[in-house]
Symmetry: none
Subunit: 248 residues, 2 copies
């Protein structure tokens, strides 16, 4: 459709309009710009904003609703949902949302931050070939008073330059990155591990206690962005993923 360039689409690719609306809104939600509970614009407002028919807007919103990102209420509008299903756990992995879904107050605390040139191990973790600078972060996610997860993260500064100026003292890097770098691909590794001294100390559990480890590598347009490792005490966490061949 020749709608795309009239809208001033920056991507040169030809994306259908309803796809564009869909990803715009998803981006706003995933980045946190529209928090859970936020009422997204009415169909007729989006119709005006994108200069298209209501059907097109409706198609996009219906998809978001089916994907569980928003909830639609007649006469009231469409609202960002608190994610809780598979999407939350494996696609985003926003720990704040997980913790708040449990009804517990969430807090993030940075333990360590280093900026350095990448070494061989960093490059292996990132799945990167070239050298460059990285930021190394370690932090704790709390659910109430108790540590909920330990986070160890590498950020590739050649992919996200601004991360070099960010302290990440009370903001976890995950949500921060999501708003800045649209990820195109991610790979998860999930395994069990016995807590070593350092992990046991950080998470306030016994050394040797079983932990669930979720590692994630993210790429944006072929460039490695970040590698993150979440360590959960076994009793605190279960990942749930639900699949359906079709989404009736």
């Amino acid at each position: 459709m020749n709608m795309a360039e009239t809208m001033g689409l920056e991507d040169s690719e030809t994306i259908s309009l309803h796809q564009r609306i869909l990803s715009d809104i998803r981006e706003k939600i995933l980045s946190g710009a529209w928090a859970p509970g936020h009422r997204i614009p009415f169909e007729h407002e989006l119709t005006a904003e994108y200069r298209c028919s209501r059907m097109t807007v409706n198609k996009a919103l219906s998809q978001l609703a089916k994907a569980g990102l928003i909830e639609r209420r007649r006469r009231s509008g469409s609202f960002v949902r608190r994610p809780q299903s598979q999407a939350a756990v494996l696609e985003l992995h926003d720990i704040r949302i997980e913790v708040e879904a449990l009804g517990l107050p969430y807090r993030y605390e940075r333990l360590e931050r280093l900026k350095r040139r990448s070494n061989a191990e960093d490059r292996a973790l990132l799945g990167s070939s070239g050298a460059g600078s990285v930021v190394w972060l370690e932090g704790l996610h709390f659910a109430g008073e108790r540590p909920f997860a330990l986070e160890q993260r590498l950020i590739n500064l050649s992919a996200v330059l601004e991360a070099g100026d960010e302290e990440f003292l009370e903001i976890a890097a995950g949500p921060w990155l999501i708003g800045r770098v649209p990820w195109s691909e991610a790979e998860h590794r999930i395994r069990a591990m016995a807590a070593d001294e350092a992990i046991a100390d950080a998470l306030d559990i016994d050394p040797g206690a079983p932990c669930l480890v979720v590692e994630r590598r993210t790429w944006s347009a072929e460039h490695p962005v970040t590698h993150v490792r979440f360590v959960y005490p076994a009793e605190s966490h279960t990942l749930v993923a639900r699949f359906t061949p079709s989404q009736g």
Copy 2:
């Protein structure tokens, strides 16, 4: 819509027409009536069959395509795809393939088999409401000489009657079931756990050692089919899942 009753819909519920088309076709595919490669009717044929507009048919087919059940080719039509969606999301659970990929000889050994009427716990595991008979299986997957994974499985006999006559002495139930029951939905739970006495004994590891536990429930057309729990010694196993942001 008053379309539903004009069509002679057997369900008393009011289902939208495109939902009905969608589930009709999905059923045909999952049941095997339309095998992979089969060309499903053209939009204009379905338009005639369901007496509706092409947009409505198109909406249903587009959803099926996005869900990966069918593939649409311009000028040629829409074709049933070879099932592959599951592997894309969490590629696990043909343990034989996993083991052989490591270059180790694979062997399965049944430890226990019981046939009984389901109790409350069974029904909870299966996610089933009604009573009925089940088969309980326990078995070990070996990689070379060492135990690779412990499998504990419940099979709902009212969904898979033939399973009652099968011994599963050297064939794991997973591959056996896959050939017989087209699954329509699956839910995975993944967590870490310390090995108890029984598990440690079976897997030949120390009690208290960390294990990765993968539980899977499977449904076929709303009916619970099986619940299976795989327990892996932590050092032997990592799950890998790779995602690309879907539908957008």
